[in-house]
Amino acid sequence: MTRTPLIAAFLGAALVLTACGGDGGDDTAEAAAPTTRSVTADNGTVQVPAAPQRVATIGNTTQPYIDLGGKPVAVTQVVESTLTKLPADQQATYKAATNVGDQEIDLEKLAGLKPDLILVQIDDAGFKAIEKQLTSIAPTVSWSLDTEWKEFADAISEAGNTSAALSQQKTQFAEKVAKIKETYGAVIKDTTFVDIARAEWSDPGTFYIADIGCSEIARDDIGLNLPEAAAGQDPLAYANLPYEQLTSLSKYDVITYPVTAAGQPTVPFAEVANLNTWKALPAVTSGRALGVFCPGNNSYGPVLQYLDSLDKALATLPAKE
C-alpha cells in the first residue's frame, strides 16, 4: 500500500509517454482505431481488445492461456511442480514472458510491460486489493477460484481471442471421452473405483481421497464409479487420512494413484506405495491399482494428457471375473 503513490506517479508518467508516441514501433497500432469486444466475467462486463497482443496473466490464468496457444508478455510465478509437467514448448513460452511476481505482484513492472489485457484468477480478497491498480494499467478480466474448468477454458479463450485452439481441444476431448466410454464401458460398469493421492503439503503419515481434480473428470465425463462428498459437504480431498485408513480401501475394486509422466509414483505418494499396508490391499495384490498421470485439470491440454494416461491404465485392468 505504501507503494501506491509511487505506482500512481509511474502510471501517470507511462500514460504521458504513451500519448507522446515515443516508441516508433507502436505507431501502427496507435494509428488503427482499436476494436473492442465485451467480455463478462466475475468482475463484471469488461471492454477488451478484439485481438489482444500483449496479454498479462495473473494467478491461475497463465497455464490455461498458454495451453490455448497464447503467448503472454507478463506472467506470475507458476509453481515448479506444475511447470515441469507442461510440454516443452509451453515451458519455453512461460519462460519467455516477464515474471511479475508470486504472492505479491510487482505492479510497476507490470505497467512497464504495457499489456493491453490482463487475465486474473486469484482469491477474491487478493483481487479486490489490486483491482483498481490493474484496471488502470489495462482492461482486466477476473474469475473466481471456484470457476468450473470447462467454463474457465471457454472464458479465457473468449477474452484472449483463442477460439480456434479451444475448438480443436474440445473436439479432441469429446473424441477421447467417447473412445474410453466405448472401449471400457462394459468393464467399468460394475466396478467401484477410488482415486487416492498424497501431495507435498500433506501431513506426515497421511493421504487423501481425491474426489476433486482429475478424478472429477473421470467421474463426471467418463462415468467411473468414484466416491464423492455428500452435497453441501467439503470435498473428501480436504481430509487428511492417516495411513491406517488405507485398510478402508479394501472395499474398492480399483484404486487409482498419482504417477509422473514416466509412470513412477509421484514423490509424495511413493511413501504410500512403499507401505506394507498398501501392498496388502486387494486391489494392489490383484493388479488393480492403476497409476494415472494428472498434469492438471484447469484446461483441456493437461486434461487430454490425463485421459491418455487413464486410457492406458484402464487397458491394463484385468477383465472382471
Partner: protein
Amino acid sequence: MTVLAVRQDGPGTTTVPGPRRRLLGLVIALVVLVVLLVLSVMIGSTSIPPSVVWDALVHSSTGIDQVAVQDYRLPRTIVGLVVGVALGLSGALIQALTRNPLADPGILGVHAGASFAVTVAVGLLGVSDVQGYMWFAFAGALVVTLMVLALGSTRQGSSPVVMVLAGVCVGAVLGGAREALQLTDPDAFDAMRSWNAGSIGGRPLEVVWPILPFLAVALVLAFVVAGPLNAMALGDELAVSHGVSLARTRVLAIIALTLLAGGATAIAGPIAFVGLMVPHVARWIAGPHQRWIFAYSVLLAPGLLLVSDILGRVVLRPGEIPVGVVTAFVGAPVLIALVRRKKASGL
C-alpha cells in the same frame, strides 16, 4: 495417586512419602503405562477387532488389518513411548537444573533450533521427508543449545538464569529468521505447518533407531547427575561443600536434556506441555528426590503422550488430531487443576 502425593500439612511443611510408597507408586505407573501401550495398539482411527490385533502381534499374518497394525499402530506406539520418555525426562532435568518449575526444554532453544534447521532443510535444501529432516532437527537442537550454553557461561561459571535468558534471545532470533524463510517459501511453510503441530503418526521405526543410542546415553547421564542435582537444589554453596562439581553437573545435565529433547523433537516435532507438566506430577508423587522424579517422569510422560494420541485418533475419525495439539488441550487444563488443588511444587 492421592495417597502417594506430597501432603501439605501446614505452611512450609510437607510430608514426603516413604521409599515403599514411592516404589508402589512407580509400579502402579508402570502398570498404567503397559495398559496404555496395549490400548494404543488396540485403538485407532479404524475399528480392528482385538483378536485381529493380537493375531498381528504374535503371528506374521498378511491380512490387511494385521499388516496395518504392524505397519502403523505398533511403530506409532513405540514412537510414542520413546518420545514420551525423552520429553518427560528432559523436562525433569531442565526444571531441576534451573530450579524453575515453569522451565521446559524449549527455553534453552531446543525447539527454536530444531524448527529453524528443518525450515532450512525444507526451504533451501529441498528435503521433503521426515527421515531426511529429522537429522537437521536433531543437529539444530544440539547446535543451538551449545550456543546457548556458551552464551550463558560467564567468567564466574554457567548461570541457569543467564542461560535461560540466552535461550530466550537465541530462540527469538531464530524464530524471526524461520518466519522470514517460511514467508518466502510456500513449500517450507506447508512442511513446517504440519511439523510444528507435533505428531507421532506416520513415523516409521527407521526414524527412531538412529536416535535411540543418543537417548540411551542421555538416560544414563540423567541418572548420573540426579544425585548432584539433589545437592544443588539446596544451594550452590552447600552442593560444593558436599563435593559436587557445579560446572560438570550442569554440562552433563545440559548434554542429557539436549539429547533427549532434541531427539524427541527430531522424531515428532515440537510437543508442548509434556516436559512441563509431567515433572510436576512426579514431584507431587515422589517428593523432591531427583532420581524418583526422573523415574516417575520416564513412566508418566509416555503415558500422557499415549493417552493424548489415542484421543487424537478417535475424536475426529476418520481423520486425526496431532498429538501436540491434544497435549496442549489436555495438559493445560489438567495442570491448572493440579496447581489449584495443590500448591505449585517448588524446587
